[in-house]
């Protein structure tokens, strides 16, 4: 359960330090770096020749930088997966051999060319949804007997909605909703909303993760699903695949800044880095340990979540995209995100859960204070200082004047 945790603690006592910190954050995280983002569905597919099966779609987002390109591929063939490929060329392409891609043995049917330009590649797969009856209200599925678990929902067996209808090419978002044939999903669905970004910003709705030009986001929500017990809680299984460096280690950082995600003072980062903890981060999945129990949440609808330690997985991830791109030479790791903590309401109180993860390249973005906070503190601390200055001047002037008055009568 205990992941390797690294705590960074920020203290900012004086206003001076505030400004230093902000100006440095501008440089470090490339606030001004922009990418040209474009989105296409099923690249290279001539649907008259090879109509894809219902509910299968491949979204390709090309994020063009000054001298590199980021390719995001989001696919609903098998379990939903997001593939991130970074190339050092501005002309790299995604090539899909569609008949093979849709066949049972799809290995090698998707390539990013020229292959020599590929710098880094990583995939995140949403594989399973666990449901368990939390009889003792501990929200610790690791401690529960196996009998408390219901048959998990395998996301590869889900029927997904048509991506074509849920695509927004200008906002670079795609919505994928689906469910299995069981009664639980008769009125509900599991949805994944994928967004790609070309510049720094935040989404409006909580957790309002800070994103930049090197990141994309997946919001997962579970809406209206009939739980199989009155005390049901859920866990989501995630897998990461890389040819050499999948996401291995989860860092939990403390952050004093909860302005954008009220009451959440931590951020978890599942990172891929070649060596020990000091080596640079190649890519990451970042989330705040919070889920929301309503679609438009208020403060009280937040429910904390926690993650298990990542472990290596031998089996092939159940994703067509991963098979098609990585073939057999790959490494896989996985972890579970468990929603809610002991004492929090069970799923059936709102029948809703949403959780957001940011997937991107390089170092994860770091929150910094908003201009409003800085302005308030500057004015609040600056004004007394100013008054002290003015006061001292007044007192000095007055002293001089009285001294003059004292000497005057001598004449």
């Amino acid at each position: 359960m205990m992941a390797a945790k690294m705590f960074t603690i920020h203290f900012y006592v004086t206003f001076l330090l505030f400004t230093i910190r902000v100006s440095s954050s501008f440089i470090d995280y490339g606030e001004n770096y922009r990418r040209n983002v474009s989105l296409e569905l099923n690249p290279g597919l001539n649907s008259s020749l090879t109509p894809p099966p219902l509910g299968v779609g491949l979204i390709h987002v090309r994020a063009l930088g000054q001298n590199d390109t980021l390719h995001y591929l989001f696919c609903s063939l098998g379990a939903p997966a997001l593939l991130l490929v970074h190339t050092n060329s501005t002309s790299s392409k995604v090539e899909v051999d569609w008949p093979v891609f849709l066949s049972a043995n799809a290995s090698g049917s998707l390539r990013v060319t020229p292959e020599s330009t590929v710098l880094h590649r990583n995939a995140l797969i949403f594989t399973r949804l666990w449901e368990y009856s939390d009889v003792n209200d501990t929200a610790e599925p690791e401690l529960l007997p196996f009998s408390s678990f219901f048959q998990p929902y395998e996301l590869q067996n889900f029927t997904w909605g048509d991506l074509r209808k849920k695509l927004d090419p200008t906002a670079h978002t795609a919505l994928l909703c689906g469910g299995d044939s069981s009664e639980s999903f008769s009125n509900g669905s599991l949805c994944l909303k994928f967004s790609a970004f070309g510049s720094v910003g935040r989404e409006k709705g909580w957790p309002s993760l800070l994103h930049n030009a090197n990141s994309s986001q997946v919001r997962v929500w579970l809406d209206g699903v009939t739980p199989r017990s009155n005390r049901s809680r859920f866990s989501l299984e995630l897998q990461s695949v890389g040819s050499t460096n999948p996401l291995t280690r989860v860092n939990v950082l403390q952050s004093i800044d909860d302005e954008y995600t009220p009451s959440i003072f931590k951020v978890a980062q599942w990172v891929s880095s070649p060596g020990n903890s000091s080596s640079p981060i190649l890519s990451y999945a970042q989330w705040k340990p919070v889920a929301y129990r309503k679609a438009s949440p208020v403060f009280e609808d937040a429910t904390p979540c926690h993650h298990s330690t990542p472990v290596a997985i031998a089996q092939r991830p159940p994703s067509g995209l991963v098979l098609a791109y990585f073939g057999e030479g790959r490494q896989t790791t996985g972890l579970n995100i468990t929603f809610s903590i002991a004492g929090d309401p069970f799923y059936n109180t709102t029948n809703y859960l949403s959780w957001t993860v940011l997937v991107g390249l390089g170092s994860p973005p770091v929150d910094s204070f908003s201009p409003l906070v800085l302005a308030i503190m500057a004015v609040g601390l600056g004004t007394p200082l100013l008054i002290i200055l003015i006061g001292v001047v007044c007192v000095c002037v007055r002293k001089n004047r009285t001294q003059v008055q004292v000497y005057q009568p001598i004449n």
Binding site: T261, V373, M377, P384
Partner: protein, 486 residues
């Protein structure tokens, strides 16, 4: 429940109401035991016990919402700004009642009936509050807090009036000290015990929910019934003493003239700003503190309640010590600057660091006590004594107004923008107090005022002026009682 004690104490120290010596007649010819003889110390101690517990209920129940913050919010399906309405509704009646409380006690009800009526208000308020939870009607809970507010603050005035009646010229300072400690004790016990009560009730009821909350609050209401019984017993004992000793009654000594407000000098307005800016960063913060410590510092609920009550715990022993110090050294403005600055530091520590919050909260507790000792007596330096009642009434009134408004604001800020922003907001409030006190220092300096005199200089001034007008220089200080006691 802000600072009625301080204000009342100051008034009473100066209260220049003619007192008749109690005529010591031990009944018609038959000797009474010391326990029953109102002129003996032992009997007065019995009375003192009832006096102390008179306020216990209202202090205990005032912070019920803070002690059960998560439970109230969860069981009643509230958001934080609705939760903070519970505090706002307590403060609203006191915006007006701070002027009226003393008048009602003196002229309308009399001290005995007045006390019983206010204690009844407290009881009924708490019962309505609990009934609102039982019936799952939040508006009823707000009504309950309103009624509770009508009784609560005025009951503190009544408590002090009783103390003056029984102990003037005797152990008055000790009595005020004990009452203050009792008030803090009530708040502390509440903070630390209500969570446990709730859990036990949850076991009995079988589940958590608004019923559990209602039953817990009803149990808390027992302390109010207890206070009501104290009020009744005190009324009886007071009546009996009056009969036996032919004692005359002193009032609260408050003369409120609202037209005086236009004559208030500029430094007094600065003192008002300090008062509002400072206290709004303390009480609403404590109201919201519990969940803050759980969320940001990963405290268990019990730990969070304990740290949230540390301000009250510290203020019980620190007030007399700091009061003694301020009294001996003088220089009130400097002390206020220190207190406000320390509070600002404490809030900034809570906002911008993960340092152990016990440091910040202890600092907050000490500075809160220091401010109370240095700020409230300053009012008496800047207004003539005949306006003192109006000045204190006004100060408390706008303090309550500030508390009501800021409680609401704090709730919605937390809902929208989280704890960092809330702490920055509280820091900004303290900054306003800091601006005002720095201005006060210079204004006083340039005007040659005596706010910041050392104690010895003040004593000289007192000697010089004592022939002409003893009233104006009869300088009250919150620590007069401490110097004798501790």
């Amino acid at each position: 429940m802000a600072d009625t004690e301080e204000r009342q104490r100051l008034l009473d120290e100066d209260g220049d109401i003619p007192s008749s010596r109690p005529i010591n007649e031990s009944g018609p010819g038959r000797p009474m035991s010391a326990l029953c003889d109102p002129s003996r110390l032992l009997h007065r101690l019995v009375v003192l016990a009832f006096m102390c517990f008179l306020g216990f209920g209202s202090y205990f129940c005032y912070d019920n919402p803070a002690a059960l913050q998560t439970q109230v919010i969860q069981d009643m399906n509230l958001n934080t700004s609705m939760f903070m309405q519970l505090y706002a509704w307590y403060s609203w009646p006191n915006v007006v009642l701070c002027f009226l409380g003393g008048f009602l006690l003196d002229r309308v009800f009399g001290i005995r009936l007045g006390t019983i009526i206010f204690a009844l208000f407290v009881c009924i308020g708490q019962v309505i509050f609990a009934a609102g939870a039982l019936l799952d009607r939040f508006w009823l809970m707000e009504v309950g807090r309103f009624v509770f507010g009508i009784g609560g603050e005025s009951l503190a005035v009544a408590q002090n009036t009783y103390a003056v009646n029984w102990f003037k010229g005797k152990e008055l300072n000790l009595v005020f000290g004990l009452q203050l400690s009792m008030a803090r004790l009530g708040s502390t016990v509440n903070m630390n015990i209500m969570g446990w009560v709730y859990n036990r009730v949850a076991v009995l009821v079988g589940s958590v929910g608004h019923t559990t909350l209602g039953v817990s609050l009803m149990i808390a209401g027992a302390t109010c019934i207890f206070s009501l019984i104290c009020a009744l017993v005190l009324g009886y004992l007071d009546k009996r003493a009056e009969r036996i000793l032919h004692k005359e009654h002193r009032g609260t000594g408050e003369v409120i003239k609202l037209t005086d407000v236009k004559d208030f000098p500029f430094p007094l307005w600065l003192i008002f700003i300090i008062c509002v800016g400072y206290y709004v960063a303390i009480f609403p913060f404590i109201g919201l503190g519990q969940v803050f410590f759980i969320e940001k510092f990963n405290f268990s609920p019990a730990e969070a309640r304990a740290i949230n009550s540390i301000v009250y715990i510290i203020s019980a022993p620190a007030s007399p010590v700091l009061g003694f110090m301020v009294d001996k050294i003088g220089r009130n403005v400097i002390w206020v600057i220190c207190a406000v600055f320390a509070t600002l530091m404490a809030h900034m520590m809570l906002a911008f660091t993960f340092w152990n919050p016990w440091i910040a909260m202890s600092l907050l507790g000490v500075s809160y006590s220091l401010l109370a000792c240095a700020l409230w007596p300053m009012v008496a330096f800047v207004v003539p004594e005949h306006q003192l009642g109006t000045a204190y009434g006004f100060m408390q009134s706008i303090q309550n107004l500030g508390l009501a408004l800021i409680a609401m604001a704090a709730g919605s800020i937390l809902d929208q923008r989280g704890y960092l922003f809330l702490e920055v907001f509280f820091s900004a409030c303290v900054c306003i107090a800091l601006i005002a006190v720095v201005m006060l220092y210079f204004v006083d300096y340039l005007r040659g005022g005596d706010l910041n005199l050392s104690a010895s200089a003040r004593a000289k001034l007192h000697l010089k002026n004592s022939d002409s007008d003893s009233h104006i220089t009869a300088i009250p200080s919150c620590s007069h009682w401490h110097t004798e006691v501790y």
